[in-house]
Structures are given as C-alpha cells and as structure tokens.
Symmetry: C2
Subunit: 253 residues, 2 copies
Amino acid sequence: MNSKPRYQQVKDYVLAQLESGALQAKDRVPSENELVEKMNVSRMTANRALRELNDEGLLVRIAGVGTFVADFKATSHVLEVHNIADEIKRRGHEHAALVLQLSRQHARGEIARALQLGQGEDVFHILVVHRENDIPIQLEDRYVRAMFAPDCLEQDFAVITPSAYLSNISPLQEAEHSVQAAMPNAAVTRHLRMKAGEPCLLVMRRTWSRGLPVSFARLHHPGSRYELTGRFAPANSGNNEYTQFSELGRREQ
Amino acid sequence: MNSKPRYQQVKDYVLAQLESGALQAKDRVPSENELVEKMNVSRMTANRALRELNDEGLLVRIAGVGTFVADFKATSHVLEVHNIADEIKRRGHEHAALVLQLSRQHARGEIARALQLGQGEDVFHILVVHRENDIPIQLEDRYVRAMFAPDCLEQDFAVITPSAYLSNISPLQEAEHSVQAAMPNAAVTRHLRMKAGEPCLLVMRRTWSRGLPVSFARLHHPGSRYELTGRFAPANSGNNEYTQFSELGRREQ
DNA sequence: GAGTGGTCTAGACCACTTT
DNA sequence: AAGTGGTCTAGACCACTCT
C-alpha cells in the first residue's frame, strides 16, 4: 500500500505543510540533511524531492543558504494553446476541415515582417475553416515560408492539419503566441457563420525551426462559441506532481 | 570552460540530435546504459538527463521498452496569466487602481454557483479599475467568499491588489481560468474608456484555498489595448532547460 | 534471459554563505 | 568551522517487455 516512491513521500510531506499553512511564503523548509534524518532516506532522495518542488515553482533553493517557500504561487498561471484538430477529437467530436485557399504569394507588409522575409520572397497562403460537428470553430489563416515547405501545394489540408504537416517536415523549436479580442471583417464573419457584432478570439502564432520563423498564423474563433481555458492545481495527496491541463474549448452552453 | 554539469552535457547531446533532425519524432533515443558508455557518466546521471527531458515533454519513456522522441512537440504551448499590477510595474510603468465599489452582498445566480455557495450566503464585491500610466487597462469585477476574508471591507484596494490581499490571507492552491472575447456592456465600456463596438478580452478566474473556491473574478480588458502573449523555446545549446516567459501585455502600437 | 526504465543508497567532492 | 545546496558515482534491487 505504501508503494509510493520515497522521493514522492518526501514531496508529500513538504506539500502537506504548505497546504496546511504550517509553512508560509518565504519560510524556511527543512534542509536535505534534516529530511534525511526525519524521513529515513538518503540525501539523493531528499535532494530529488526538493529539487522537483523547486522546478515546479513551489520552493526556492539557494546554495549555501537554504530552501524556502516560493513567494507568488498564485500570480502566474498557465494556459495552453493546443492543436485544434486534436482538441476536437479529444472531446470525442468530429473534426472536419474545409480548404478555402491554397496558393503561392509574394510576401508583403505584416507577413513579410512576421516571417522576416525580404519584400517579394514567396510564401504559401493557406486558408482553412475547421469545424467541430459541422459547426465552424476556427478560421486558420496561415502563411508559410516557401523555402521551408516546397511541397506545400500538393498537400490536402482537409486531411492533414497545416500544423501537423509543418511539424512533420522538421521539428518546430520555438513558438510565439498572442491572444486578443478583435472584431472580424466580413469574410471572417461569413466563414465562421457569426452574427453581426460578435467579436473574435484571435490567436496569432509564429513558429520557428532552426532559428528561422517558418510560419505565421492568425486563428480566428467565434467569441460566442470558443474560449481558452486552463486549470492549475498542485496534487495534494494522491497524484503525481502537478496537474496542468487546459484546452481550447468549445463553450458548452 | 566545460563547467556545465554532466547531466546537462548529456541533455545537450540529445537535444543536439533533436534539433539537427538526426532524431525524428518517435525515434528511439539512446538508452541509459548506452549513454553511460558513450558519455562516460554514471547511470544516475544519464537517468537524470533523460528524466528531465521527459519531464519537459521532449521525450517519452516507457519502462521495459525504451526512450523515444515525443510526438507533438509543437502542439501545446503555454500562456501565463499574471497579476496585473506586477505586469505593469515590470514594464516600468505606473500602476494605479481606482476602487469603484466595495460592499457585502448576498450571492446569487452565477456568483453563488461559481463559488459553490448556498443562495443567500454572503460575498464581498470588489470593483476596481487598473490603470497603466493613467490609461484604463483592466476592470476587475471580483467576488470573494465572505467567510474567507472577514476584514475585506477594511482594505484599501487602491494600495493592495485584491489578488495580493487574498494570497496574503492564505496560500491559494488552485486556479481556473478562461479567456474569451466578448462585447462589454455600457458600464464596462465607460469604465475602460472604450470606443463603441470595441470588444473585450475577458479573463475569468476562480481560485481555491484548501479545497474551497474563495474568489471569482471577471477581468475585462479593452481589445484594442491588450493582449495575452507567450513564448516557448527550448534552450538549444547555451542555457538551462526551458525558457518560458509571457506577459499580459499592453499592446505597443 | 537480456534489456529497459524506476528507484534507492552511502559516500564523496565542490562552491558557497553564515557564524 | 559548520551548514547548505549541486553534483556525481558504483552498485544495487525491482517490475516490466521483448525475443
């Protein structure tokens, strides 16, 4: 029954004191050697427990000084931006994609800047509507550096997501996101079947591969049907370490 | 010069193969014992390297089988929701808060549900406008379980952020967020000095302490002036492990 | 049975800050 | 000098999977 690893037991012991309030922010946490004695573990095991709690942001460790309760557990929480097709499937719903446009263009203005292209370098322009159970849920307006994806025009993006296609070509290594509220133009309104006056949740994403920005996407979502959600909870007694899940969710009601 | 810890050298060795493309998604990564021989380290050191890369989501380990390159490195990226006052100060700007309302109320409808209160249990209602260099940037509409914060009415929320006040009372342990685009009502429009027809980026946040939801907040931000941004980048050669930063940013231009 | 990851130990050396 | 965290090792036992 006490099958939990020893380092996890040490973590639980410390976590319990955090949660009970016995240890407050900036308080000193038992040192590795103190835990070695109290919990009858080796120092490597105590070290792993405290190091992981440090990595998780709950503790702050200072070599030569000690280990302390971190200050701002509550201030910085996490949202994740997922692949839309995976999200839909994870909800057990049907994903369908409709390709509205797939062409090669010269990069101009914002696109050229976002992808760090010289004016006139080529990009592929992909415009796809993603549907969940036939309800439009995302308009993907994506530009891809042409040099990076020479066979882009031959893809069927109704079958393979542009995002999946890109990460197949080469591992993507960096991403940058921004989320904002914006009013859609007429075309976006139409493609997402939105009511007039309804705002969009607009996610902009840039991805890098080997130091070069290779893709820039504007992901429009109808404000009435979508939200980005996240939950953040240290696992008290039972589970592993942290439960962090979130989803690009279709609003239920 | 080669002062980097051995486990980090092992991580770098594996990372280099991920980044060069020598190892693709689902490929098998050298086992701990293979790394022990190739890198001249002990197995504990090889184990730490692979375990950390696993924790970071880059590798998948299966006991009895092997270690493999993770599948969807690019699909799930992170945004963080920060404390507004800290964010403003971090940008070197001036934060000011104007308290519009501070009162005790009976919980009804959505508020009672969100805080899991019986109809009629009391909440404190806090309404504050946060300004960055005198420009309204967030309307905080917050409800706090009355039992949790008996001295709430005596606080000066122009000086201490409600969020900071709450985490002073007791460590907050769980948080739930949703981000959506919505049209503001007339009062929100006025308090944030928004143009007619401009949408809001609306962050809703619930926080828990010791298993009870203690606070529910609607954070309205003018769509034209705010966005939530995030960046995600594994540190290739030089740095620690991961660089994950993000901010609730005032849009620059 | 050979190989894998998962864990644990007892001891070690180091650089650092505190007293 | 004593205490702290940071790292590393050589060996060990286990449960598991694959062949």
